[in-house]
Amino acid sequence: MSEETIIVSDSPDAEINAAIQKKIGWGFWLAISWVILITLLAILAPYLHLKDPRGYFIDIDGNGRPPYGPSFEHWFGTDKDARDIFARTLHGARISLIVGFSAISFGFLVGGTLGIIAGYFRGWLDKIISFTFIVLLSFPSLVLAIMLTALLNRSLFTISMILGILSIAPVGRLARASTLQFSDREFVLAARQIGASDSRIILRELLPNVVIPMSALALLGMAVAIVAEGGLAFLGLSVSQGITWGSLIQIGSDSATTLENAPWIAFFPILLLFLTVLSLNFAGDRLRSHLDVKESSL
């Protein structure tokens, strides 16, 4: 092709990417602000003078039988048992966010370690670890989660662990791939030359280079874990007796009449869940193109 044709062909994608490369954009900060806001609300929920999330607010005089629609008294309305949806949704954020955060932390800790070990030492160790990842990825994630919740007691800890196990393989694969890539670079070879120990090379040379580009994956992974917890809770298989977004949505949609007559019961938790997942996805996506991480499989 001659030079002119290169000028002629307009490639909008390249331009868009170039624009993203330069600045991460206000959208990223908006998304991050929402995540911080919802996290703060969740942490501070018990101190915000909200209504008791487990209390019943039957209004005998005014409104007749619950569920009550959104009003000044109950911003998001109440459910069939006259429990305040606003308070419950903010309290529900606690479990959803704790599970999401601890799951992806566990995934990074275990998956990241395994991936770096596999990529750095290679050989049979790599074969075993990689095969483990493949086995873990052979279950659709929700199926594996359901199977494990069926076998264990459903405490906050076990649910977090179960969802953490699900994120081991995707995180581990990416960590392994970028370790493979970095361990042939000059600075690692140089460190080896001067006789640095394996653990020193891994901790000082590889870890920062492998983990920082993966920070985008942490945001995306947290979104996946929150959705997975929501799915489990919706099926009645998450933290038992816990208030979470998934279980609130389930209460609001357990029968067609509830959904038809009091859609707010399900819709407000759906809205918060959606906005949170959207923000995490968006921020993760922006961060990824900013850091230019090629693969994402979470």
Binding site: M1, S2, E3, E4, T5, I7, V8, D10, E15
Partner: protein
């Protein structure tokens, strides 16, 4: 040229002051900057220039094939008396393939890799001439025979990757000829081909032009390619036509130093094989911020202060068909003066080197 033929008095194509700019992040690229010429039916025009001179954009701009985003296109293009400028893409489609068609540079990438040859040739036939499948197939077979492809019937069912580069270029010519266009563009039709096939393809294009009484615009960077195949040659530099003349006149009495430089870059058989090919020093001008004066001045050995500040217009020679844009053309006193200086200097250098 058939000046005696009365029908040729209204030109088939008349381009006046055509400008084609692209808006980019760096600024506006003036790829074609005020080009005018006309072309009679059956006539052939060679457009010669280095890459970056705007010749490909010129041909695509005339045909209207450029993407519309960030494009500025001004001037007038009259085809068969009809003004093309301002026509919608929809209106242009009935002209494309039927009235005007184009042979592209690279036959390796310009044919659809997952579509059979036969269908690619039949497509414009069915679209423009309303043929049914079997008619189109017969015509396609005949077209393949016309472009001298052996075993045409078998080729119809083959995919492009099963053919050699030269064969694929012949297929492309067949597609371009399919609906009997009156104007054929050939954009560097031989650049991507083996040297041995190049002459055959040029010969084929020219032969078909004569047989079908088509006009041809042949775009190339190699002035040697147009030598025997066109009636008129236009030399382009920096988005402008800098010299235009009937082929014979141009070769015998070119006026632009740039044309001279292009001529010197043609490999000659008589030259000893170890002689270095003359190349033009420097790079084509930046089309976002073109030079103030003559575009070629920064690279021109004969440039004088005037060339750097003032832009030369087109001057007509004693032959009205021959125009050029230069203050101190080949043959002028200033040219000879500078040439003498240059040869003295190079003598000095070479003798100095040997001592």
């Amino acid at each position: 040229m058939n000046d005696s033929d009365p029908r040729t008095t209204t030109p088939l194509l008349e381009v006046s002051d055509l400008k084609t700019y692209f808006r980019t992040e760096r600024g506006t690229v003036k790829a074609v900057d005020g080009v005018s010429f006309s072309l009679q039916r059956g006539q052939s025009l060679g457009i010669v220039g280095e890459s970056g001179s705007g010749k490909t954009v010129l041909s695509r701009s005339i045909m209207g094939l450029l993407g519309r985003t960030n494009l500025i296109r001004e001037g007038s293009i009259k085809f068969n008396g009809q003004e093309l400028m301002g026509l919608s893409v929809k209106e242009m489609r009935s002209i494309w393939g039927q009235e005007m068609s184009m042979i592209f540079q690279d036959p390796m990438t310009s044919l659809n890799p997952v579509m059979k040859i036969g269908r690619q040739i039949a497509e414009p036939l069915m679209l423009h001439l309303g043929m049914n499948k079997s008619e189109a197939r017969l015509t396609a077979e005949k077209l393949l025979t016309d472009v001298r492809i052996p075993e045409p019937q078998r080729r119809l069912n083959q995919y492009p990757h099963e053919l050699s580069g030269g064969m694929r270029q012949r297929v492309m010519i067949a597609i371009a000829l399919a609906c009997g266009p009156t104007l054929l563009f050939a954009d560097e039709p031989t650049t991507a081909l083996d040297v041995t096939v190049q002459a055959e393809i040029l010969h084929l294009i020219n032969e078909q032009r004569v047989d079908r009484n088509m006009s041809l615009i042949l775009v190339t960077h190699n002035i040697g390619v147009v030598a025997g195949n066109t009636d008129v040659i236009a030399v382009m530099y920096g988005g402008k036509i800098v010299e235009k003349a009937p082929t014979k006149t141009l070769f015998s009495s070119y006026k632009m130093p740039y044309t001279e430089a292009l001529m010197r870059s043609i490999p000659k058989l008589r030259q000893a094989s170890h002689t270095r090919l003359a190349t033009i020093p420097g790079r084509p001008p930046d089309m976002v911020n073109p030079p103030l004066g003559c575009n070629f001045a920064p690279r021109c050995a004969y440039a004088r202060p005037k060339c750097l500040v003032e832009e030369p217009g087109l001057t007509v020679t004693e032959n009205p068909e021959h125009v050029y844009a230069c203050f101190y053309p080949v043959g002028s006193p200033e040219y000879h003066e500078r040439k003498l200086e240059l040869s003295q200097r190079s003598d000095l250098l070479s003798t100095g080197g040997q001592n």
